[in-house]
Structure formats: C-alpha cells, structure tokens
C-alpha cells in the first residue's frame, strides 16, 4: 500500500466533513494509505497574503516542514490548501531571496524546510498513482447512466498544474465514464464559484454560483461532482439563496468525487456522508444504483 502524508484542512473537517469521511472510506479499497500529518495548522488560505506577506508563506510552510521530516508526498483533498502549499514551493523557486528569510522565520520555531515536499491534490493521486483502469476494475456498483456535470473549479487546474488543461480539463471525465456515468457537456466546469467572497461579497458570489448551476442544469446534469470543499459549500448551501434571488428552481445535488467513487466501489452509502448534503442526492443516486442509498 502506497503511503502519503494526509492534510485534511479546516473546511474538510467541518463544512466538508462528508469529503473527509468519504476520502478515508475509499482510500483502503484503492490501495492508498493516508497518514494524518500530526498537529497540522491551517494553511492560511489565499487571503493571508493581504494581511502579512512573509507570514503567508511561513504559516503554511510549518506544515511542509513537518511533512518533510516524514519523507512522504503531502496529499490534500482541499483545492485551496493544495494551491496555498503549491504557492510556497513555487514562491521559493521564483523568488530565491525569500529562502534565507524563511529559514530565519522557521528557525525561530525550531523548524527547517528544504523545499523537498511534493504537494499533491487527491485527484492527482487518484488519476496518476492509482489510475483510471485500476479504479474501474474495482467498481462493483457502476453508476449506470447517471448524468453528471464534473466541476473542476479553479485552483485544481490553475495557475499551473501538469496533469490537465487549465481551461478545459477532462481527466475526471474519463474516470467517471469508466464507472458508467454519463458526463454531460459543462462549459462552466472550470469557472469560479466565488470562493470565500460568498461571505464578504455575497451578491457577486451568488451570480457566479447561479451561472455554474445554470450551465450544469441546462445540459441535463442530475448532479454536480466536485473536488473542493469551498465549491461544494457554495453550490450546495447557497443554492436556496440563488433560487430566491434569481427566481430559479434548481435542485441539483452537489456530491464529492470521493462519495461517488465510494458508491461505485460498493462502500456502504451510510459511511460516505451523504446525509450532510443540503440538497439531498438520495433520489438521484437511488435511481441509478442496485441498492438504495
């Protein structure tokens, strides 16, 4: 079993707890061992760089320093945490003058970081370490004909990622198709959901969310698949607010990739966190499964 250091992140352990439980549930069946990074701290998110410049590198770097000692790739299912860690590594590469500064800051906390940690998004591990063929071969309960819109969002594929296209990503389409799902065309699959602007500028965020929901709905999707806790939160929890503001009647369940994979792998639906969804996916999924959800 291949081992990884696992960084859940704050959202994945609260608003996106369904993501956490379903990732843990599928990992063993897929032959990957996720070892929790001990005493991890919040990555600080992209917001931190407006508050303090060096701190915005040093705070997430504490986690990288802890992970470096373990010598394993650092895997996170959270797209925002993934990007924040990638930013530390790319900043150290692009701005060499930051390295001695960071060394001094980390030394004050008895830590050191040599830039060696490979930061991976869960999707990268699933596609490139486990592989589509392997996952498909383990599926016992195919998602027969389930019409899915796959929402990649922003930071999984931007600003720089090696395994997919930044504007028209398709890697997950192949995975879901191999599990029997029907992937609908989804022009907004890599457009922005507004992220944390939903708190500080709700009008702006709601219009972005509405556009994404419309794009999926008008193409016949029965549900939207997501790989980011913030995307799931915005599209699921704010769907009601979108409906009352724009006079729409969307009722699109927003499920995590790991929840669907778990379903296809035949894992007991009760352990996949479906009950956490505000727009319930129960009916939609039940219609496509042998056993009820």
């Amino acid at each position: 079993m291949k081992q990884y250091s696992y960084f859940p992140g704050c959202s994945v352990q609260s608003t996106a707890v369904a993501y956490d439980v379903s990732v843990r549930a599928i990992s063993a069946s897929l032959g990957i061992e996720l070892i929790d990074l001990e005493d991890w701290n919040c990555c600080g998110t992209t917001a931190y760089s407006s508050i303090d410049r060096l701190e915005s590198i040093a705070i997430p770097c504490r986690n990288l320093a802890l992970a470096e000692k373990k010598g394993l790739d650092l895997v996170t299912p959270c797209t925002a945490c993934y990007r924040t860690f990638e930013r530390v590594n790319s900043h150290l590469r692009i701005y060499p003058f930051l390295k001695p500064k960071l060394d001094r800051v980390l030394a004050a906390a008895d830590l050191e970081y040599h830039g060696k940690v490979k930061v991976r998004h869960l999707v990268d591990v699933l596609l490139n370490d486990v592989g589509v063929k392997d996952i498909a071969s383990k599926a016992v309960s195919p998602l027969q004909g389930l019409k899915v819109a796959i929402y990649y969002g922003c930071l999984l594929v931007r600003p720089r990622v090696a395994f997919d296209d930044p504007e028209n990503p398709q890697s997950l389409d192949r995975l879901l198709e191999s599990l029997g799902a029907e992937v609908v065309p989804f022009p907004d699959k890599a457009r922005c959901c507004g992220g944390s602007l939903v708190i500080s500028n709700v009008g702006l965020a709601l219009s972005l969310i509405a556009q994404i929901l419309e794009s999926a709905h008008s193409n016949g999707a029965e549900c939207i698949v997501t790989v980011c806790p913030l995307c799931q939160l915005n599209l699921d929890a704010y769907q009601g607010m979108v409906n009352s503001r724009f006079g729409t009647r969307y009722k699109l369940p927003i499920v995590f990739l790991s929840q669907l994979l778990g379903t296809a792998l035949g894992i007991e639906p009760r352990t996949l966190g479906f009950e956490r969804s505000i727009v319930s996916p129960e009916k939609v999924l039940a219609g496509h499964l042998q056993e009820g959800v």
């Binding site: 704050c10 959202s11 609260s14 608003t15 996106a16 991890w40 701290n41 919040c42 600080g44 998110t45 992209t46 917001a47 931190y48 407006s50 508050i51 303090d52 410049r53 060096l54 701190e55 915005s56 590198i57 040093a58 705070i59 504490r62 900043h91 692009i94 003058f97 930051l98 500064k101 001094r104 800051v105 980390l106 004050a108 906390a109 008895d110 830590l111 922003c154 931007r158 600003p159 930044p166 504007e167 457009r191 922005c192 507004g194 992220g195 602007l197 708190i199 500080s200 500028n201 709700v202 009008g203 702006l204 965020a205 972005l208 929890a237 704010y238 009601g240 956490r276 969804s277 505000i278």
Partner: protein, 197 residues
Amino acid sequence: MSKNGQQIAVEGYSVDGYEFVEEIASEPGGESILSCAQCGTCSGSCPNVLWMDHSPRKIIALARAGKREEVLSSNSMWCCATCHLCTVRCPKGIEMPELMHVLEWMAIREGLVNGKVSAPAMQRTLANAVRRQGRVHELGLMGRFFLRTNPLAALKMAPVGLKLLLHGRLPLRAEKIEGTDQLKAIVKEAQAIGGGK
C-alpha cells in the same frame, strides 16, 4: 526605474508612477507590473470585472500613472476571487491575483481601504484565528466577522448557517493545535523581517 541597481526605461510610466510602481515591484508577485503590455486579456477573462471600480488592466495603468490613492482605495482587488483565469491567459505570464494581493496589503497598511469593502475584516479575523489557535473555526469566524462589519447582514445569512448547523457541518467547538508556540514564534519573526526584496 531601477532594477538590480541598473536604470531601466519602461514605457507607459509617468514620473509620479515611479515610486509607487517601485514599491509594488519590490514585493513577490508585484514585479509583474513592470512587464504588463496593457493588452486587456485579464479584464476580458475576469468573471468579476463588472463588479470592479477599475478593470485589472486599468488598475495597472493607473498604478503606473502614479494614482496611488485611486488604486488603493478602489474595490477592484477585493473583487478578485483568485481564480487565475487571467494568469493562464496572460501573454506576459503575469499572476494578476498575486499583484492584487500586493495591492490589498498596501491598501490595508496605508489605511486606504474602500469603506464599502468588507473583505479585509474577514481576512484579519481569519489571520487572527490562525495565529491564536492554528485552526479556523468557521462558526466563530463568521460570527466575529459579522459583528465587526454588519450584524444585520448576519440575519440574511442565518438560514444558510442554520442549515449547515443542522447537517452537522458547523462544529460548535473550536480546535486548537499543540504547536501554537511555534506559530507565535513564526509570526513574531516574520513580522520583524518582512517579505519584500
């Protein structure tokens, strides 16, 4: 304009713009302001441009013209969701969200933040939580943010919060890490050193 001690001429700058641009360029991510060709691809790609006082391209033009107050008191950077659609399309390889973050930081530091913008209050609340506990407690974060900015807005958001609470997605208890002393040391040292060139 001087870079690495060498005088360089950059097209499109006013003399007033030199000092402001130099300050921006000394922060990681800010140096890209020197290479912008003003093609406007960023503005055409931005999903939030219609909410901005000035488009991303114009923000760069204004900064180069030395319009410090106009730039730093605008709402433009606070509308950036860091989606990086502009970054992957920019022919000059500029990471516009990084530049926007530099401007946000300068606006806060110089007390020029647009009064209608509430994002800085949220970011400060978040940073303080991380510094104190090492984790973000979403319920506490939202509570403090709305108390700081607009308690009435909290009423509008209450139904969403309640739904999350009822679905077990907003834990009541705040978590705290063991290594808060390490974080304290990191924060103290980082603030003393600064992140610029």
